[in-house]
């Protein structure tokens, strides 16, 4: 039955990877309107990078590993807001390159994947319990 316990490792790695993804979405959405007067220090949208990583004791099945979180390098949106206290000398502010629609779809996708893996773990748990109570 060691296999069914490996399912917990695999699905667990996916849960933590998807929660990292949800965290970056939360961070991006929270900072969607954090404007600054300096184009270099403006918040950049963050994205996790996933990679399949082998789990201990299994050569065929792979879990998920978060290689790191990268920043979207596209240019910040420049807006003319001379009344804004953080505006630069020319009256411009720089808004983060966060695409709110993209973030919302990312959030739904991460949430669905998370739920899928929770379901997998529940099924594996039920089967493990049934196996352990075999014959009783």
């Amino acid at each position: 039955m060691s296999s069914s316990f490996r399912i917990f490792d695999i699905a667990g790695s996916a849960l933590s990877a998807q929660s990292v993804r949800l965290n970056t979405v939360a961070s991006n959405l929270a900072n969607a309107d954090s404007v600054t007067g300096d184009p270099n220090s403006v918040y950049k949208a963050r994205l996790p990078v996933f990679k399949a990583a082998p789990v201990a004791g299994s050569k065929d099945a792979a879990g998920v590993q978060v290689l790191g979180v990268v920043e979207n390098q596209s240019a910040a949106a420049k807006r003319f807001e001379p009344g804004n206290p953080v505006a630069d000398a020319d009256g411009y502010v720089y808004a983060p390159n966060v695409n709110v629609v993209e973030e919302m779809t990312n959030m739904i996708s991460a949430s669905r994947s998370y739920q899928n893996n929770v379901d997998i773990m529940n099924t594996a748990k039920d089967l493990a319990i049934k196996t352990l109570s075999l014959g009783s």
Partner: protein
């Protein structure tokens, strides 16, 4: 001692083997679902029929054969003991697992279709439960025989 079909257990028959294979299959399918969002990941599956066919030819049940399991190897010390199935699922999987043919391949190279994987996982879980049910019935049978009621 009479040779026993390597693929089957003297008490549980084919179901001991089927449980191990379905557990392995669920592991591979859960890896597919876990990697549903991983770029470049290709979905795999266990070929149940192939493993079962291989189980008949490999994996001996002779009393003291060394087990290929990573855990402590179990062995019998008397020919009248019930033999221990030594064949490992991984060893009889017939090499690398086959990759699934993607129905809707995505741009990032990921070939996991979550709905397909979920359906197959449910299928594997159901077969696992069925084998568990047969094993349970067998235990109950033997218990009632032993208690002579």
């Amino acid at each position: 001692m009479a040779a026993i079909n390597a693929g089957s257990d003297p008490i549980f028959g084919i179901h001991a083997r089927a449980l191990a294979v379905q557990a392995k299959r669920m592991e591979v399918l859960s890896a597919n679902i876990a990697n549903a969002d991983t770029p470049g990941y290709e979905a795999r599956d266990v070929d149940f029929a192939k493993i079962l066919a291989n189980a008949g030819s490999t994996g001996t049940t002779s009393g003291t054969s060394a087990s290929s399991h990573s855990g402590p190897a179990a062995s019998t010390t008397d020919p009248r003991h019930i033999p221990i199935i030594a064949g490992d699922v991984d060893a009889t999987a017939g090499g690398a697992l086959p990759y699934r043919v993607a129905t809707q391949p995505s741009v990032d190279g990921n070939s996991v279709d979550v709905q397909v994987e979920q359906a197959k996982f449910a299928d594997a879980a159901m077969h696992y439960q069925a084998s568990l049910g047969f094993a349970n019935g067998r235990i109950k049978e033997l218990m009632s025989a032993l208690s002579a009621q």
